[in-house]
Every structure is written in structure tokens, then in C-alpha cells.
Amino acid sequence: ERADRDKPTEIEADQMVADDVKQVTVFTGNVIMTQGSRVAKAAKVVLVQDPQGYQYTTLYAGPGGLASLREKRDGGPNLWTEGYGERIEYDNKTETIKFFTHANLKRLDGKTLTDDIKGEYISYDSKSEFYRVHNTSDGKSAPGAGRVKAVIEPREKKAP
């Protein structure tokens, strides 16, 4: 949700190494990254911070696992988005989140699953809450490269 962007980003991990020359910080082991309502979990996180303080974060899943990211959505008291992938790239300047390989994006109303999107690559703009899905993990669609699947629950019609 929009309020998240004004919250500090907190990252906890088993270990961390900060490289002053490359301006890159790498977190390894049970990494949990939180910013307001947004919570991401991964085995390894690589963070690059630009001089203005914007962060470009890449989350890597552990072997056989998936990195995950969950955040609240605007527009209702209990609307959530959950995303999974073997790799997640998060750019907190443009506020776009990209899920790669076994990508899955779910939208929930409380515990009720409203949308369930699967593909090899899903790009999600958390400002506009608009998402795009492709069947290859390099972000393009290629014929015969696999299936994209989207299950979108009908929205209740708002009373006129």
C-alpha cells in the first residue's frame, strides 16, 4: 500500500557483508525484509542503494524453495497481494516488483483468494497495482514456451 513507501526498510539475516567499494550489501541466511506492511522472505538478498537512498533489492530463494513477498493493498481494510518466485527483484524508486521462475501472484481479500496468476515471469507495479505475466523468465512471451494461467474471481457488483 502507498503508506509503505514512507516507512523505513528493515532487513534481518543471519549474516551480512557490506562492500563499500561496490556499494552493495549482501544478506544471507533466513533473510526477512520489512517496510511497513510489506514483508519479504528469502535465503539471500542483495541490496544496492543509490545516492538518493532508493534501494534496488534482489531476493533469491534457497535450493528448492521460493522467495516470497506480501504486502497490503489500498482499497479495502484487508486486501493483500502475495508474490512468489525463485528470484524477486524489487525497485523501491519505481515501486515495481518482478517475480521470476515459478512465479505466482495471489491477490487476497482477507483469507479469500481472489486472483491467482502463474507464469515464468510476473511484473507487478505496486503503485497502480497493475500486473503483467509472461511465459518465459526473461520477461517476454515466446510461443510454445509454457502456459500462463490466471484465475480471476468475479468482483461483487457494487450497488448502484
Partner: protein, 198 residues
């Protein structure tokens, strides 16, 4: 045996006895002297043999360039293991190719031919901002400084501030040559929101 040879024999005997006596006493004297010298050498003083107040000490590299400056309220030398105890040490790196760094604490212990500096209590490490890096400040209760390798290490909790980010962890290693900082367990970093970056 005629009287003459008897006298000669008696003289020889007296002379031999005198010679033995002389050699014996010289030997005893030598033994005594050596044992006291040994005693003096064997016993190395455990109490300090000298100290300096308000000292200023510069370490030079093999090239003759200044490596770092060490100052302090008092430096006490212990001859038994050639170590030093320092009150309120302040270490300042002078190597222009490295990031400037100042490290100070309540006290420090230096051993192993000045290759290990154990800094204790209220340890603070400060790196002023440079062209491409932000100010850095770290505190801990113990820090091992290895000046010859440009490495600092601790197994204690550290709290560090790099620019506007705050880092905490248990166990830390910092390499000023490669400019890497490792937090060895329970690492946590808090970054302020981008638009609130100081």
C-alpha cells in the same frame, strides 16, 4: 731417601697443595658468580619496567611512510612478554590510500610485537565521510585491531551507523583494505525511507 730429596719432595707437595687450593677457589668463585648471573637473567620482571605519560607514537611502514598514530594518557611496558597497557588510547590511520579512521576506547592491551591491539570498553570507530562514502561510526565493548593486516574484529555486539542506515549484529569483521564489513550473526539493518534520507 736423602735429606735433600726429602726437602724437595716436601716443597713439591706444598706447592701442589697451594696450586690445588688456588684453582679450587677460582672455580668456586666462578660457580658462585655464574649462578647469581643466571639468577638475575632467569628472573624476568613481571612488574612494569617503564611507562610514559601523554605519549604520541607513530608507526611507519617499510616504505617509511606513516601508517598510524597512537596516542594515549599513559603507556606502561611489561618486559616479561613485551606487552603494553594503554589508558585512553586513540589510534588514527595516516595512510592516505586508506579511508581515514579514528579508533578509541577506555583502555587497550598491545601484544605480539605490536601486531595485536586489544581495545576494551567504550570502543568507538569513526570514519569521516569521503567523496564516495558516507560517515561511519561503530561502537562495541571489545575490538581486536590487526594493524599490519588492516583488519578489525570482534565477537561482541556492534552498533554501526553508515550514513542514515543503522546496523547491529553480534560479531563483526572489517577489512579497511578491501573496504568490506561483515556482521557475523543476527545482522539487522534499518534504512530510512528514501525521501527522508538525511
Amino acid at each position: 731417601m736423602s735429606a735433600r730429596s726429602a726437602r724437595r719432595f716436601r716443597l713439591t707437595a706444598i706447592f701442589a697443595f697451594a696450586a690445588v687450593l688456588a684453582v679450587g677457589s677460582a672455580w668456586v668463585n666462578m660457580v658462585l658468580k655464574r649462578s647469581s648471573a643466571d639468577e638475575k637473567a632467569g628472573v624476568v620482571r613481571e612488574d612494569p619496567d617503564y611507562y610514559m605519560d601523554n605519549f604520541r607514537h607513530f608507526t611507519l611502514k617499510l616504505t617509511g611512510e606513516a601508517d598510524f598514530e597512537l596516542t594515549g594518557k599513559k603507556m606502561t611496558h611489561y618486559p616479561d612478554n613485551d606487552s603494553y597497557l594503554i589508558n585512553f588510547p586513540v589510534m588514527e590511520s595516516l595512510d592516505e590510500r586508506q579511508r581515514p579512521q579514528i579508533t578509541y576506547s577506555d583502555w587497550a592491551f598491545i601484544e605480539d610485537v605490536n601486531s595485536k591491539i586489544h581495545m576494551h570498553e567504550n570502543v568507538v570507530v569513526i570514519r569521516p565521510p569521503t567523496g564516495d562514502t558516507e560517515a561511519f561510526r561503530m561502537t562495541t565493548e571489545y575490538l581486536l585491531v590487526l594493524p599490519d593486516e588492516d583488519i578489525m574484529r570482534t565477537d561482541r555486539e556492534v552498533i554501526a551507523y553508515q550514513g542514515s542506515a543503522t546496523m547491529t549484529g553480534i560479531g563483526m569483521e572489517s577489512n579497511n583494505a578491501t573496504r568490506e564489513l561483515f556482521l557475523l550473526s543476527r545482522a539487522k539493518v534499518v534504512y530510512p525511507p528514501a525521501n527522508q534520507k538525511k
